[in-house]
Symmetry: C2
Subunit: 225 residues, 2 copies
């Protein structure tokens, strides 16, 4: 991106930008580092609590937790223009859980180093408010996932996942393994396979190795009601 475009991008994605003075803006611009990630890379693991905030220019990332027994569940996804705060959770007093952040599609992201963000937080109410709003958004997403996982039957959750995935991919043919779906939904692979076979027997999907084709979107959609 050109210098001017970069500034526009920061102004549009960082709500506190307009409240910073010139010195603060320059410090921030000088400190930001553009990072490139390939699909499959870990942007941060549970032990990287101080990498800094990632501001996604373009890409797709999933944030998830792993249980003691090795099971996973996706908490939320980050897409273009989203900010990842838990890669800087060391600056969030009282956050005592760890997340993993995995790149799903090639991603370009600006890294705001922890030290810079910490200094700005101490100087600016707008930066504090930004942190607050970001945390509230993620909290809301996690509450939704929790409600789904605890209160919603698995056929509905799987139907919802396939439809969401189809929207993200822009295709009815999904290249995804049953294991991978299990890791998104916090369950075991066998549970996913069993339900997908049921969906196939009802004519909603067609299964082949590493791929799921959605044959009847309406019928999947009806499951959600």
């Amino acid at each position: 991106m050109k210098e001017k475009d970069t500034t526009t991008f920061f102004r549009e994605t960082l709500s506190f930008w307009k409240d910073l003075n010139d010195a603060q803006r320059n410090t921030l611009k000088d400190a930001m580092i553009m990072k490139h990630f390939e699909a499959g890379e870990l942007m941060a693991s549970a032990s990287d609590r101080c990498s800094g905030l990632f501001l996604l220019e373009r890409g797709q990332v999933r944030v998830y937790i792993i249980s003691e027994s090795g099971r996973e569940i996706t908490l939320y996804r980050l897409l273009d223009r989203d900010v990842c705060i838990f890669s800087a959770s060391c600056i969030l007093k009282n956050i005592a859980f760890d997340v993993f952040i995995e790149v799903e599609k090639e991603t370009n992201a600006y890294l705001i180093p922890t030290a810079i963000y910490r200094t700005l937080s101490k100087e600016s109410l707008a930066v504090q408010a930004f942190t607050n709003e970001l945390m509230a958004s993620r909290f809301t997403e996690v509450m939704w996932i929790m409600e789904q996982a605890i209160f919603v039957s698995f056929d509905k959750r799987l139907a919802g996942f396939l439809l969401d995935q189809s929207t993200i991919e822009g295709s009815l043919l999904l290249s995804i393994t049953h294991e991978r779906i299990a890791n998104h939904l916090g369950t075991a692979r066998e549970v996913v396979t069993r339900m997908l076979k049921y969906f196939q027997s009802e004519g909603m999907v067609s299964l082949s190795r590493g791929e799921i084709e959605i044959l009847n979107e309406n019928k999947l959609q009806q499951l959600l009601n």
Copy 2:
């Protein structure tokens, strides 16, 4: 409480107190209202998003959600000196979920009106930081509950709940219904009854109408490992 004791209480429980100026402290003291709640009362329901922050002087409160189908799960509890922030969630931008707040034991709490807290938040970095830390604490508690509910087997969760409850009550004899336990743990009453009967057959508890007596703490504790 006497005037002097009240001030000491605020200084000890509100981390931003020391950073306020005299005018702000006086505004806050004048605006705070002591409220009294009996066990069973709702301190706030999902529709009261703007009551204000409650600062518990003494008491016990549970914060929970209700699913569309009417099932409940307890997110966390508040005890003496805790602050309830979700009764003022209207000031938290991006919080888009609703919680219920129910009094479990007679509670005295100071209410900080929403308007006052909103004004202080706009003036004071310390107040913003307090909000952030409070939200981060609750987020951490919810993540723990979610991990438990999704990844931990129900016998462990129930054993843990009975032991926690026994600590809170200071007694091995718990006056609680199976329905009530189900509402804490996000499950159906039948599931609780079935597991309690199993615990009884193993000599860990003894069941009678509306009461559960813990007979073997060690054996319940061993279930957690």
